[in-house]
């Protein structure tokens, strides 16, 4: 029963995203990348496969992150602003189901954009003569899990703050969390025990987006695929983190006056 509710809500989000042409912007960007890479290949630029792969995963990471944040950050606030939240909440569904369905829709829309972009980038890379490798599938899978986590973080932030603030903070978390974690790691050794405890706490609550991004491994030649247990572990971490975020959003939204 709940899955049907979630799917109905998710389908609405997906359909709106498709018709709003957000995803087409991604497709056009992908085509530009493909055309540019194809042009390099046409003019006989050799030995740039590594550069092309690096560029491909960077562009994929960047645009899919932008899509994930922009799609998710306005979902809940738009429902309130347009008063469409009321007919939804007037149905016999819980507020948790509403959040879960909306999150599911945002994740699916983001994944669809990512897959379109990935397909176009793959074509461009093939034109460059880049060989297909198993690690590329692992990259795509882990990236999609990471995007799901990012959607959950953004939805949660949008339950606590304005859409623009939620989007800004999501960008900071998405692009800055790795840097913050690196900084904390460096400062850890020279800090007092209390500060070390505090750093550990910050590290544990920050989403570890860096773990989901094996783009550098894909870009560099001769890297072995990631062991399956690691992929499984990351998948479990991603699901748990997104679930935790959803619960946090629900704790704010469950009794919020709307």
């Amino acid at each position: 029963m709940k899955l049907r509710v979630w799917w109905a809500l998710a389908r609405g989000v997906l359909l709106e995203s498709l018709r709003r042409k957000d995803l087409w912007v991604v497709a056009i960007l992908g085509m530009i990348i493909m055309a540019a890479s194809g042009a390099l290949g046409f003019f006989g630029v050799e030995g740039l496969q590594t550069f092309a792969k690096d560029l491909g995963v960077t562009v994929l990471g960047l645009f899919s992150t932008v899509i994930a944040i922009l799609t998710t950050s306005r979902l809940l606030p738009d429902e309130i602003k347009n008063r469409t939240l009321y007919p939804l909440l007037a149905r016999p569904i819980s507020r948790f189901d509403l959040l879960a369905g909306k999150l599911m829709g945002a994740i699916l829309a983001t994944w669809l954009a990512f897959v379109i972009l990935l397909a176009l980038t793959s074509v461009a890379l093939l034109m460059f003569g880049v060989r297909f490798e198993v690690i590329m599938v692992q990259y795509a899978l882990l990236k999609m899990v990471g995007l799901g986590v990012l959607c959950a973080v953004t939805l949660t932030l949008s339950a606590f703050m304005t859409p623009s603030a939620a989007a800004t903070l999501s960008f900071v978390v998405a692009f800055g969390s790795s840097m913050i974690v690196r900084g904390l790691t460096m400062a850890y050794e020279t800090s007092s025990p209390a500060m070390q405890w505090f750093f550990k706490f910050i590290n544990s609550i920050l989403p570890q987006f860096g773990l989901f991004d094996i783009g550098p491994r894909v870009a560099n030649e001769n890297w072995a695929p990631v062991p399956l247990w690691v992929v499984g572990g990351l998948l479990a971490y991603g699901v748990a983190y997104a679930g935790g975020m959803l619960l946090l959003a629900w704790s704010k939204f469950r009794s919020q006056a709307v």
Binding site: V5, A8, N82, Y86, P87, A90, R91, S94, A257
Partner: protein, 302 residues
């Protein structure tokens, strides 16, 4: 079992400027099954807050509200209510049919039953030709019709409508009135807020008037109409009706006019004029204005 009950309902908000707003203050009323009740009050009187409490969008600060004995906002209560929010902008990139399909699925409707219900309702509200156009291309009135259609999904036993005629043209209002009357004939209870007093007059069995979050009047509409109705007679010849009439004056040419607030005094006056052998020129019944009643009652309460 009453369709809607509120008991000593209080709703407090913290406004954006940090101040506490006491939107509803000890509101108690009941709505009987099958009744149409208009919920009136000036802007900021607490109407929408009360309706939101009934739907569980807002938690009461104190007191309670229930629907058929079920706690307002519970899933069981929501299964029995249809709700129309005030001026909603339905998903711009969905069509009315897709919008109703979405809401219908959340209501628990499935497959061909859902499709038939959505299509029938859109036709009933006059969107048969527009059901496959995107909502963003619809006018405000048409979006309101989408809202009305979604509120009727699943044949709810109680309809809670917030400013239901907003954006509708006179034809749309008439059609909506007929639709709601037909629903009432099937046993549906209607509870709605409105600033359109003519709609209230035509549709309601009873009105509740609130001001500053408190109930200040509760009256069956027929009794109110009877109370507000006035009669006027014009006659020739000097017969004094000053003891019976609200107003009595000479128009000139030995012609007089008298105004009465109740029928008994009118009949006595007619009898007196005729016994004196004077000619009654005209008798007019004037329906009272609900607007005047509204303004006066609010003025007294303020």
């Amino acid at each position: 079992m009453q369709a809607i009950v509120t008991e000593d309902l209080h709703v407090r908000y913290r406004a954006k400027n940090g101040q506490n707003v006491h939107a509803v203050q000890g509101l108690s009323f009941e709505v009987n099954p099958g009744e149409i009740v208009g919920f009136l009050g000036p802007n900021g009187a607490g109407k929408s807050s009360t309706l939101k409490c009934l739907m569980g969008f807002v938690q009461p600060s104190a007191g309670s509200c229930s629907v058929f004995g079920l706690a307002a906002g519970s899933l069981e209560a929501k299964r029995r209510i249809g709700y129309l929010p005030e001026v909603a902008l339905y998903y711009p990139y969905l069509t009315p049919l897709e919008t109703l399909t979405l809401y219908g699925e959340l209501q628990g409707l499935r497959g061909s039953r859902l499709k038939r219900a959505a299509t029938d309702l859109l036709e009933q509200v006059g969107l048969g030709q527009a059901m496959n156009k995107l909502n963003r291309s619809l006018s405000k009135g048409m979006l309101q019709r989408v809202g009305i259609a979604q509120s009727l999904l699943g044949d709810p036993e109680v309809l809670v409508l917030d400013e239901m005629t907003s954006g509708l043209d006179p034809i749309g209002r008439k059609e909506l009135r007929e639709l709601l009357k037909a629903r009432q004939a099937q046993g549906t209870t209607l509870f709605f807020s409105s600033h359109e007093l003519s709609e209230v007059e035509m549709l309601c069995d009873r009105i509740l008037l609130i001001h500053q979050g408190k109930l200040i009047e509760e009256r069956p509409i027929q009794a109110l109409k009877d109370e507000l109705r006035q009669f006027e007679i014009t006659y020739q010849g000097a017969v004094s009706l000053v003891d019976l009439a609200l107003e009595w004056n000479e128009l000139g040419d030995n012609t007089y006019r008298a105004r009465f607030s109740d029928k008994q005094n009118l009949l006595k006056a007619l009898d007196r004029v005729q016994r004196e052998g004077r000619a009654v020129v005209d008798v007019v019944a004037q329906e009272g204005s609900l607007e005047e009643f509204f303004v006066e009652t609010i003025g007294r309460a303020a």
